[in-house]
């Protein structure tokens, strides 16, 4: 604990919005333990933290989407408790989400004014006035968007601009921007910053969430750091360096949590060469050897999952090739990938990894249904036997194999997904966010399992947004940023700072 790690002073005169000690839990998962931020009128305030630090939960509290279980929330010194999004809007808070939330079938002008369209004769909506007002907004923002076109098909940048136009037309006192620049090009970012500065100069308070440190240092007046759902510190931007902030974002004891057993590293199993897909990722080359765990690190949206999906044959790619044990894999053919010996544990196990309403036994043997079948019919007893073996080896905790998978805890569900693939004796296992939404105790068990698999000579490609997991588990770390690999680090060189810098592609060197 360094001296500046105290809560910001409470009753400053210019305080526009103050949230202190906000907590939010979902069942056993603590999304926000101490959400604290203080926003002054006429400042741009950065909110930073790793993926899963609780930033998005905090934003949803401000937006009135989540009702905090505890904490003090004040706007201009008055306590508030938002019950709906409309309450938050009425209090002058406008939120621009990471994913633009436009209505694809409505026109651009209508998207800006929905729910408060200007009225003309006979109390009916006046499209002409709506169009004119939208034009005025776009002129002020300096963008040529046709207010009459429908929103479907607009580029992400244009959608973002429309969200901003919406916020401006609402005359928001507080503007929250959740990673607004993630999909913007340089010119568009400059334009956005100019707008943000002019709003600040008119006395609005802007909460700016970003992973790009160069932008944060260029734009913001103060920085609040969060970690593991907790408030860590608030600084004047001018008084700190990138290195200080990164240290606070990642600061935690890593080695103790995630054991990686040393495994003998053998021959190359997977070779990816020059893989590119327009607009998704570019020039991706790497190898994974048997017994090795290679982590794909980076921020959400960097293109890691897309690379994994292309390797497994779910999505196609434009150029490059994928080889398993020296044999080239066809594009868009997951069945060939499975036959060649790849297993894929997807990010969203509830939607993609498991059939939630089927029994544990059925799920664990889904990949085996051809092997288990005789004359095209699956034998129930052979299915149960195969399932029993794997659920025992992976220590799946369930009352009965016949229970629906949906009744298991997250960690045990993940073990069933692993069992499903292990039963096929894969050469390469791709695991995408293997411990997302899993409680800490079971997390370690999943890690031990993965490490154990590597010890048996399986090559493992692990996508993870959790830095400690990456650093604790991986033999090598590939860091991706906006569709490219920006760093290749051996275990010894993979420090939190090095990974975070490559992931945010920050220009400022560490230390």
């Amino acid at each position: 604990m360094s001296p500046e790690q105290t809560h910001p002073p409470g009753n400053s005169d210019a305080t526009l919005l103050s949230l202190r000690g906000a907590a939010k839990t979902f069942g056993p998962v603590v999304a926000l333990a101490d959400g604290t931020v203080e926003l002054r009128a006429g400042e741009i305030h950065a909110l930073v933290g790793e993926n899963g630090a609780g930033k998005s939960t905090l934003v949803k509290v401000l937006a009135g989407l989540y009702h905090p279980d505890a904490g003090v929330f004040e706007i201009e010194g008055e306590p508030v408790a938002f019950r709906t999004v409309a309450d938050s809007k009425a209090a002058g808070i406008s939120v621009i989400y990471q994913e633009p939330t436009l209505f694809p079938d409505l026109t651009v002008a209508e998207n800006i004014f929905i729910g408060r369209q200007p009225k003309g004769r006979a109390g009916l909506i006046s499209r002409a006035r709506m169009r004119t007002e939208a034009r005025v907004l776009f002129e002020r923002l300096g963008v040529p968007i046709d207010p009459d076109r429908i929103a479907e098909g607009l580029s992400i940048a244009d959608q973002q601009i429309i969200e901003i136009a919406k916020a401006i037309s609402l005359d928001a006192k507080v503007l929250v921007m959740d990673e607004p620049t993630a999909a913007l090009s340089g010119v568009e970012v400059e334009r956005l910053f100019a707008v943000a500065r002019s709003l600040r100069d008119r006395g609005a308070g802007i909460l700016f969430i970003s992973h790009r440190f160069d932008e944060i240092f260029e734009l913001t007046d103060r920085i609040t750091v969060m970690r593991d759902g907790r408030y860590i510190a608030t600084h004047d931007t001018a008084a700190v360096t990138t290195a200080d902030i990164v240290r606070e974002m990642v600061g935690r004891d890593i080695a103790a949590l995630f054991p990686k057993v040393d495994a003998e590293i053998g021959d190359t199993v997977l070779r990816v060469d020059g893989l590119s897909s327009a607009g998704v990722f570019r020039d991706i080359s790497f190898e994974v050897r048997s017994g090795e765990i290679v982590a794909l690190a980076g921020l959400v949206g960097a293109g890691r999952t897309e690379v994994a999906r292309a390797v497994f044959g779910i999505d196609g790619y434009d150029t490059g090739k994928v080889e398993l044990l020296g044999r080239r894999l066809r594009q868009r053919d997951p069945q060939a990938a499975i036959n060649a010996g790849i297993g894929f544990v997807p990010e969203d196990r509830r939607k993609q990894g498991l059939v939630m309403d089927l029994s544990v036994a059925r799920n664990a043997t889904l990949t085996l249904r051809h092997a288990l079948a005789r004359f095209g019919l699956i034998s129930g007893s052979r299915e149960r036997r195969a399932a029993a073996e794997w659920t025992k080896r992976l220590q799946v905790k369930t009352g009965s194999q016949e229970y629906a998978v949906s009744t298991l805890s997250g960690g045990n569900q993940q073990k069933v997904v692993l069992a499903k693939w292990l039963a096929t004796a894969p050469k390469l296992l791709i695991v995408d966010e293997p411990t997302r939404g899993i409680d800490v105790g079971t997390k370690a068990e999943v890690h031990r399992l993965i490490s154990d698999l590597a010890g048996r000579g399986i090559a493992i490609l692990m996508i993870s947004s959790e830095l400690p997991e990456v650093l604790g588990m991986a033999d090598r770390v590939l860091v991706m940023h906006e569709g490219r690999i920006t760093a290749r680090l051996d275990r010894a060189d993979a420090t939190p700072e090095a990974v975070m810098h490559a992931a945010t592609a920050s220009m400022e060197p560490v230390e």
Binding site: P104, D105, Q117, I125, S126, R127, A183
Partner: protein, 347 residues
């Protein structure tokens, strides 16, 4: 939708707005169905001029009237990304209720019967709306349930009873016989319904909210639109319109009983979809749904006039539905490709 309020100092904006008007016309979702209807009527007329005789026209319009009103209500619900399969049963209950009122309450004013029918329909629609918004079960399942429940109530209430046109006052039956300038009264009523609902959908915030909800329900929530309340109202209004259709059914047809309106729901959904109302919500218009209703009912008469085997009628309706969906898919695939290309430039 003209540019009247925008000042046009130079001729250029005026011309560009006219060009935009033409482009907008070509992009209208109602255009294909309107063209299909006109073509159908012209071809049939060329083959058999009796098709558009005063009596022939009147029959066409009378046949379409009830379907128009039901399709307008259904369009409201489908635009919010829901569906109401119980409309046939609501129509049946209200139609039988209308017959029962006239038979058992002699001298009851016609206007009172209309009022009671609309309120009855509103209650049945509100039950649907309440179940959909509170239980958060897909409307498809909820209204499939109420389809059978309402039909069951109708069976229990009517038993073997039927009410015939003789039980009803002459003035009531005259509604679907008398005409103004060749248009039957109840058809004019349906046209008024279409115009009023179309204005509400295009010109009020609540109406636009329905489009927003169907376009992206999650975004509507994020934006603070009262999604539950709006969807509830859409179902209730659909109930009112189904109730109105029920009362008019009793005026138009000779007998009402336990099975009145059975199977209508699929015709109604088909009319809306053929009329350009996207089945996943967010786009389409009540005017399109009304034209779709006219097209589907006209096909029957046209095929009879052309002496085509009745069997083909249903197959042709099926082809129209598929055509409407394919046109929709092609359009959305094209915009998706545009989007992908324009994003690829940024990386």
């Amino acid at each position: 939708m003209t540019d009247t309020a925008t000042p046009t100092p130079t001729p250029t904006p005026a011309r560009s707005s006219r060009r935009r008007g033409v482009a907008a016309l070509l992009h209208l979702r109602e255009l294909p169905v309107a063209v299909a209807l006109i073509a159908l009527v012209l071809i049939t007329y060329a083959a058999n001029p009796l098709f558009l005789s005063p009596q022939g026209t009147k029959d066409l319009l009378l046949n379409a009237t009830i379907m128009i009103i039901l399709a307008v209500g259904q369009a409201l619900v489908i635009i919010t990304r829901n569906v109401d399969l119980s409309v046939g049963s609501i129509l049946g209950l209200v139609a039988f209720g209308t017959g029962s009122l006239f038979a058992n309450v002699p001298g009851i004013p016609i206007i009172a019967v209309f009022a009671i029918g609309l309120v009855f329909g509103a209650v049945l629609g509100a039950v649907n709306g309440l179940l959909v918004t509170v239980a958060r079960v897909p409307a498809l399942v909820i209204t499939l349930g109420t389809l059978y429940i309402y039909r069951g109530l109708n069976n229990a209430w009517a038993g073997g009873t039927q009410y015939f046109a003789d039980d009803r006052p002459e003035a009531f039956g005259a509604l679907s016989v008398d005409t103004i300038l060749g248009f039957p009264l109840i058809t004019l009523l349906a046209v008024v319904v279409v115009i009023v609902v179309a204005i509400v959908m295009a010109g009020t915030r609540a109406g636009r909210d329905l489009y927003a909800i169907g376009s992206d329900p999650d975004a509507a929530n994020l934006f603070g639109i009262p999604v539950g309340r709006r969807v509830f109202i859409a179902f209730a209004v659909n109930g009112v319109l189904a109730g109105l259709a029920g009362v008019l059914y009793a005026s138009r047809f000779n007998s009402v009983g336990a099975t009145t309106g059975t199977g209508l729901e699929l015709d109604v959904v088909a009319a809306a979809v053929v009329g350009g109302v996207a089945i996943f919500g967010g786009s389409g218009s009540v005017a399109g749904a009304a034209i779709g209703a006219v097209l589907l009912t006209t096909i029957t008469s046209a095929l009879t006039a052309l002496r085509v085997d009745k069997f083909w009628q249903q197959a042709i309706v099926g082809v129209l539905i598929l055509a409407a969906i394919i046109i929709d898919r092609v359009a959305s695939i094209r915009t998706a490709r545009r989007l992908r290309i324009s994003e690829a430039r940024d990386v």
